[in-house]
């Protein structure tokens, strides 16, 4: 079975640009979460979506936005890119946002800001 897939795998942008990252969850999973991982640190929660609705938001500025589509895939958008946005962006999916549903991660999109 296919796991969580993310595209693109690598991306290079310049300051001020906008970027869209894409995620396809595991088949049957309806919840998608996004995380940012800066080098040397653990992933930090950005958003969670379930049934196309936002279920949680981390401590990130409004430049970060996301959405979930009817097929449960998701996009993460980041506007007005800053150098500090350089990171590995991870998508995770779970059956639903229930109490004990483990999240399964993709291998991320490596975003570099020049």
């Amino acid at each position: 079975d296919a796991g969580v897939t993310q595209s693109p795998t690598h991306l290079i942008k310049t300051r001020g640009q906008q970027v869209t990252l894409r995620c396809s969850p595991i088949s049957g999973h309806k919840s998608v979460s996004w995380y940012q991982q800066v080098l040397g640190q653990g992933p930090q929660f950005i958003f969670q979506y379930y049934e196309k609705e936002e279920r949680g938001r981390g401590n990130f500025p409004d430049r970060f936005s996301a959405r979930q589509f009817p097929n449960y895939s998701s996009e993460l958008n980041v506007n007005a890119l800053l150098l500090g946005d350089s990171a590995l962006y991870l998508c995770a999916s779970s059956l639903d946002p229930g109490d004990n549903q483990p999240q399964h991660f993709g291998d991320g999109t490596r975003l570099s800001i020049l």
């Binding site: 992933p43 004990n100 291998d107």
Partner: protein
Amino acid sequence: LAKTTQPISMDSYEGQEVNITCSHNNIATNDYITWYQQFPSQGPRFIIQGYKTKVTNEVASLFIPADRKSSTLSLPRVSLSDTAVYYCLVMEGRTGGGNKLTFGTGTQLKVEL
């Protein structure tokens, strides 16, 4: 928010059993304990999850004492390929309210020959 504390690093040799202990003193009644493994430039991989006592799967065991204020991930007979960062997390149990994961800095396990 239940914070976790785990050793920054551990060293071991191939064939040994490795036990990584995590403390989570303010874990709430509905919270679950979850462990992930992460290799460089890859996403975290789910290893095991438990609520109390002992949970075992094909790759690891998780021991949780009665007070649930700590947990121990046990990796039997490690190999070089087990060299990775291991994260202990407490999944906040909120029915229908989302299950965001709060990662710490993890434990860097290094396995040598």
